[in-house]
């Protein structure tokens, strides 16, 4: 993070005001320097002030800091009374009062009453202090509130940081074809071979069924034809070795079952087949 001196932000001003600085609110042209102690404030000014609180914790922190107190030294009774007066004011002004403000009022009242009760002597640790949880929440909220202020002070785009750019050249629109690596090709080949192996296994396994299927289709063709059909018509090279074997087995089986007749005029002459008469 580089130099951020000299930059005055709205939050800087706000922070100054919270930490006992000068400006509390600006109403119209008038600068309100301090919250009057008698609680008489011009109503519109008070509205502005009260509306700047981000919730009960923010208001409490304001009250504590206004007395220059450390959170750890909170006089609960005192703060509770002040808090209640602000709450009354806010409701009197019909500000939309978030339920959280009232919940906090109840919490404060409870802590106050517990502090008034006599405490056992050995109950001196932090656990026993009814303020502990409230203080923890106040500290936690204050840290985040401060973090938000620092965040707001960071140099940022649109306000302090200006990215540098230049006019791009005329673009050459190229649509590069997909790239392929040799190993991808190898993998693809491995897959093909692997699948081919699987197919072979399956073919063997289902051979019997293939023969039955082939017999059915052959028979249908033979029956539909009114003439002798040459045997080689049933062997298609596209089917490969398996197909040819299946066809051959089918012919033998059909013949054995007497479903077809095989005819050969002389040795080595073409074989024909037809439906059994």
């Amino acid at each position: 993070m580089s130099d951020d001196e000299g930059r005055v932000t709205r939050l800087d001003a706000e922070r100054r005001k919270r930490r006992g600085g000068s400006v509390v609110a600006i109403v119209g042209e008038r600068v309100v320097d301090e919250l009057p102690t008698d609680l008489y404030i011009p109503p519109d000014a008070l509205e502005v002030i009260l509306e700047t609180f981000e919730g009960p914790l923010d208001l409490l922190l304001y009250l504590i800091r206004r007395q220059n107190l450390d959170i750890l030294e909170v006089q609960v009774a005192e703060i509770t009374d002040q808090y209640m007066r602000y709450i009354e004011l806010m409701s009197a002004l019909r500000l939309t009062l978030a339920g959280e403000y009232l919940a906090m009022a109840a919490t404060l009242a409870e802590i106050k009453s517990r502090l008034l009760l006599p405490r056992p002597v050995d109950d001196e640790d932090e656990e026993g202090d009814p303020r502990a949880e409230l203080i923890r929440r106040l500290q936690e909220y204050e840290r985040i509130r401060d973090a938000a202020e620092r965040l707001a002070d960071l140099p940022r785009l649109e306000r302090d940081v200006f990215p540098a750019g230049a006019e791009p050249p005329e673009l050459v629109t190229a649509h590069p074809p997909p790239a392929v690596e040799l190993k991808e090709l190898m993998l693809a080949m491995a897959d093909v071979l692997h699948r081919a192996n699987l197919n072979r296994h399956h073919a063997v396994q289902f051979e019997a069924l293939s023969v039955r299927e082939r017999m059915t289709s052959m028979l249908a063709r033979v029956n539909a034809a009114s003439r002798f059909l040459p045997l080689e018509e049933f062997f298609s090279p596209q089917e490969g070795k398996h197909g040819i074997i299946v066809s051959f087995l089918a012919v033998l089986e059909l013949h054995r079952e007497g479903l077809i007749d095989l005819v050969q005029h002389r040795a080595f002459a073409p074989i024909y087949l037809r439906a059994a008469s």
Binding site: M1, E73, M104, R145, A166
Partner: protein
């Protein structure tokens, strides 16, 4: 293979032509096969960037690394002149929005409920919408409790916007004084503050150092109740 000077020219041109920061990864993809030294292309790009940075000494702009990559940006000290280029005022953000954003940045991942717990008031849906629309926060998952509330975290766009390279560059969170030990220094300023443990790896080390140096009053951060 391209000359070092050539690589520099390409990189500075790319940084200026790109509307957003350019990552090293993207710079590497600008070059065709064989244009960068094959042994260590990343090193070639990095040393070209170092040269570019060095050469801009004395110029009105500089090379800066933010979360999503590198960009050229105007030197901070020239901002007073440069902001005169724009008539419109930069956008302002409400305290409620900044507090919500700070909580998400420092305590991520958090739910809306976590934020409400710390701030003591409910978070307006508008704020969450604005933060999401600006791309500063995103939902990073859900907490496995009834209702499965969304968990939010910040984005690189957030870091880029605030000129940060990573979350460690966020200003440190204030120190917390324990209730039992009265604070020695209570002027309300939180100067020598250690980093929040969630965002800083060295927190534990620093704690140890603190213990050695007798700074007993550093207590662990209160965790956001779940």
């Amino acid at each position: 293979m391209l000359q070092q000077a050539e690589i520099r020219r390409v990189l500075e041109a790319a940084l200026l032509a790109s509307p957003e920061p350019v990552s090293i990864q993207r710079m590497l993809r600008l070059f065709g096969p064989g244009e960068l030294p094959e042994a260590n292309p990343r090193q070639a790009v990095k040393s070209a960037l170092a040269e570019i940075e060095f050469d801009l000494e004395g110029h009105g702009y500089r090379l800066r690394q933010v979360a999503s990559g590198y960009r050229f940006q105007v030197r901070q000290e020239l901002s007073p002149w440069i902001s005169r280029l724009w008539e419109e005022k930069p956008p302002r953000y409400s305290r409620a929005l900044l507090e919500t954003l700070a909580l998400i940045a420092y305590r991520q991942p958090v739910t809306r409920g976590d934020i409400e717990q710390v701030r003591g008031v409910s978070v307006s849906p508008n704020i969450m919408r604005t933060l999401l629309e600006r791309g500063w926060i995103r939902s990073v998952g859900h907490r496995e409790v009834p209702g499965r509330p969304a968990l939010y975290g910040t984005t690189n766009t957030f870091l880029d916007y605030f000129d940060l390279a990573n979350l460690e560059e966020l200003p440190p969170l204030a120190e917390i004084h324990a209730l039992i030990t009265p604070a020695e220094d209570d002027d309300g300023e939180n100067d020598a503050a250690p980093m929040a443990e969630e965002i800083h790896d060295t927190f534990e080390t620093e704690l140890e150092e603190d213990a050695e140096s007798g700074l007993e009053n550093v207590v662990p951060l209160p965790t956001v109740d779940r």
